[in-house]
Point group: C2
Chain length 565, copies 2
């Protein structure tokens, strides 16, 4: 190893060691700060980041990609309603695959610790460009500035570093060499064995539109660490963040003397999707997908003989059996459903409440009392444009407004459904043309299951009357088992009830948050600590991040020969 690479490994070793400790202990840790405060970052970086973003507008995003055949890009800011006007190099898939396959041959020979250190260097550089990234994420996804900075920045990088730690751990499990000795008959056999880690092939990373970096980083870093070049295919309406990622990867690879085609960008359009061309190619052996259950399910039902990791979505449920303070619980739920206007894979959608009401610290609350408390808590957020802007951000796509429109129409024909709170826009203080929508709140019963038991990708909360709390848990966990769930929520002050409910969530393969309130978003999933997606229900087949996420991304080729006498 040359001295530059040695220095790179040494530079990042403490971070890697800390990440390895964190994934073991599952305690809180991060090498990054997830607040955009100038007290942390100084006064210049926010300004420079915004300027860097603005300088991109209306320009070609130059990347030195192989096989460029055209330029494309059709991103529109949910905040301004304006096209970003950025175009990206569209490469012939065959050229990307050929370049990736060539890059694999040199990348696989780079020692694992250098590959891991290079990923940590990439992560550091992405962190250094995080103000630019925050504006990029904000203006393609609709995330609020603060969330784009934290959730799509350090929190996402942490997920990537977590995957790196697992990859490093899984690779370290294999000795590079061993001496093996045993008697066979009269022979004392002594063999020297060499175990070489081999990448599996090219990785295709299919990114989602609403939160592209969070799932892409683990996939990219897990691939790169284990020797597999990555072809990054962003959603056509959210390219810019991933173009920045690919640019940083390529710059870092080049600077350290590696083939920049270890990471490339695959651009497509809504009209002409390109993913299948990569999926069908024998050189592509690993597919990481985040996105719709529809396409994710298609991949799960059709891909054979390749590694496939999916995170799609499901119906995240809440069961309220009893609470210490109704307003506190309603606030926690209102905040989390308002966060990014329920466009997160962890956003709660369907709240089951016993039809006879619940026990609270200050007496009985009826079913309607619960619904009204939720309404009041959402109203409070929606009423203050500055607060609303920081929490709700904007609605990424017209599709989510359509979802809510269709829901209104469908609810009109449901006698049991009552609209407690209509979905209305709020006036964004900085972007008057922002596409915004505050949550719709509807009370319903089992006759509305066709609506609340499907993922509705827009800001809506169903408050569903259940026969009783145990029936609520049964319905919530049946939903998870059948339609998938990434996060489930349970509120109860009754310990025996919690104990018996836990079992049902486990059997449904549903991760459960119990009695979460306060300043932490109840749907916050902490890297290094929270296992995200169980793989046991239809919301995805893979966990971010565990050993199974990394262990099959590489293979072992061995050789053995007699020990020198």
């Amino acid at each position: 190893m040359n001295t530059v690479l040695k220095a790179l490994v040494d530079k990042h070793q403490p971070t890697l060691n800390a990440a390895l400790r964190a994934v073991q202990t599952r305690a809180s840790w991060s090498p990054y700060k997830d607040s955009p405060s100038t007290k942390i970052h100084g006064p210049d970086k926010p300004v420079q980041g915004k300027a860097a973003f603005e300088a991109r507008l209306g320009q070609r995003y130059i990347l030195d990609q192989p096989g460029i055949v055209s330029w494309a890009g059709a991103e529109t800011s949910p905040y301004t309603g304006q096209a970003l006007g950025i175009t990206y190099p569209v490469s012939d898939p065959k050229a990307l695959i050929a370049a990736g396959a060539a890059a694999l041959q040199s990348w696989r020979k780079v020692s694992p610790d250098v590959r891991v250190a290079l990923c940590l260097e990439i992560a550091q550089r992405l962190y250094d460009r995080n103000f630019e990234m925050a504006h990029a994420v904000m203006h393609v996804t609709g995330q609020s500035y603060v969330q784009a900075f934290s959730g799509s920045g350090p929190n996402a990088l942490d997920r990537g570093v977590e995957a790196l730690a697992y990859a490093a751990k899984a690779m370290a499990d294999i000795q590079p060499t061993a001496t093996w000795q045993r008697p066979f008959g009269k022979d004392n056999v002594s063999l020297e064995k060499t175990y070489t880690l081999m990448p599996r092939g090219l990785g295709l990373v299919i990114c989602c539109a609403s939160f592209p970096t969070w799932n892409a980083y683990p996939a990219i870093f897990a691939n790169l660490a284990t020797g597999n070049p990555s072809i990054v295919k962003p959603h056509p309406i959210a390219i810019l963040p991933m173009a920045i990622v690919v640019e940083v990867c390529q710059q870092t690879l080049t600077e350290y003397g590696f083939d920049p085609n270890v990471v490339t960008l695959a651009i497509d359009t809504l009209k002409e999707p390109v993913a299948q061309k990569f999926i069908d190619d024998p050189a592509v052996q690993i597919i990481d997908f985040t996105g719709s259950p529809r396409y994710g399910g298609h991949l799960e039902r059709t891909i054979t003989g390749k590694l496939l990791f999916t995170e799609t979505a499901g119906v995240n449920s809440v069961v309220i059996e009893s609470v210490a303070d109704l307003k506190t619980t309603a606030t926690a739920l209102a905040r989390s459903t308002s966060l990014f206007s329920a466009q997160m894979c962890t956003s709660p959608q369907t709240i089951f409440v016993p039809k006879g009401g619940i026990k609270t610290g200050s007496g009985h609350a009826s079913f309607d009392d619960v619904a009204q408390a939720l309404k009041a808590a959402v109203d409070k957020i929606a009423a203050d444009p500055v607060v609303a802007a920081g929490i709700m951000g904007a609605i990424q796509g017209q599709v989510s407004l359509d979802v809510i429109d269709r829901l209104r129409a469908a609810l009109a024909s449901k006698p049991a459904a009552k609209t407690v709170r209509d979905a209305t826009p709020y006036a964004h203080p900085d972007f008057p043309k922002a596409r915004t929508l505050t949550p719709l709140i509807v009370t319903a019963d089992q006759t509305c299951a066709d609506l609340y038991a499907e993922e509705q990708f827009g800001p809506v909360l169903f408050v569903v009357a259940a026969e009783n709390a145990d029936a609520a848990v049964k319905e919530a966990t049946d939903l998870a088992a059948k339609h998938g769930a990434i996060s489930s929520y349970l509120y109860s002050t009754n310990e025996p009830f919690i104990d018996r409910s836990v079992e049902a969530y486990e059997a449904a393969g549903a991760n459960l948050s119990i009695n979460l309130h306060g300043a932490m978003w109840i749907n916050f999933a902490a890297a290094y600590s929270d296992y995200h997606v169980t793989g046991l229900n239809p919301a995805g087949n893979a966990c971010l991040t565990d050993l199974a996420f990394v262990a099959a991304r590489f293979r072992i080729v061995q050789r053995r020969q007699p020990s020198a006498v």
Copy 2:
């Protein structure tokens, strides 16, 4: 944990610890003795084992299985040509699945260390019955008595214990609980997190005909350790060994108070195969397959959304570039191709030799000299019936005789092919009616690639003239990449040649043995040390055994709630 289970865990802890050390260091280790010598086992066990086997003949093999609808069995001894006359309970697949699904519910709650210890207890009991197992294996597969005792006994159990060690390691990687604390705004959030290991679903273990225990043990033990009940489906011509395994599993489970349906036997016939019924059931989530590339490839191309581990077969090649002593090398190759009459997945088939001959320690040897040396070495084994019986055993199926017949016919139309040694039976000293066949040896060139580049499941060695040694390596590694290879062999005294060849084998994903001679069979794969199957070429998609073999067999379901104040 009750005291009986605690004692079970304590009893096997030293073995588990030693296995964990062995898979880490890859050094030689085994808790078992792989020689049938009475010096080790005493005079009684061999006699009792044989008697136990003989007592089974002509009888029903009673197992307390659910949903028994009929009895079937059509095994014939390759040694006597006689039907064993044993019938086994045929259960309705739906009943086995229902029983397995019910068993999963209790088995998943048994703590991982108890599950691992129970598997070690099963392994110990199988070892205790290994003389019986040796006769069972011998009379369904045709393995020699010594090989059946060692290769299908301790060597196979070691593979199982190796998988257990990996399963224990992967599960131990997950903390059962954690406390997580970080500030959010003004809140100091403190959460208690619980991580529950969950099985993935039922495992189907499809066993091969010729070496059933060796691949079944890792699959069964990996499944059981991680909480997944296993349905064991033996090949219809080799049921008895797996019936013994299932019986021991069920007895041990019952004795320790667990549901015996954690392991069940699925019987089918050649006319009415049953595997697909299990594969298609949503309750079955893990499929381990060992057998033909044809059916294995079918599974690889059709199974989606489930875990699939395959070991099939390929074309194992040898390249001879130069040797210290031709007779020594020829003997090593002759022994390994003679072992079980080349019916092993590691048996060499196609030997590439430079057409201009090779350098030896005593001067030049022509291509024909090499072929003649191989002939002489095989002749020497074949000429002594006692030696031949111990090494070659018998031919399991008529199919392998047919393969050789078809080859003879095909070779007749190949001008470049010459038969150096015809395949002839040898007279087994103990079983005059044994179906035996000594290896066919043929010299050939590239015009015969249609024959030597396909797996020929019968005793044949092709000695193929290559342009030169580098061309030989290229052809051998191309073969591995295209048709698969489980074991590749290289002989050379030329270090630079070895060094540049190693690269090609790695790129082909082919495990390589270099310059192996002597008492150890060159195709011996040592548990805890040799990674078996790379998963990088068509000979199988999984490695026995690594973290990837176990890590996705279980999932993690988490819950979190505020720490008590």
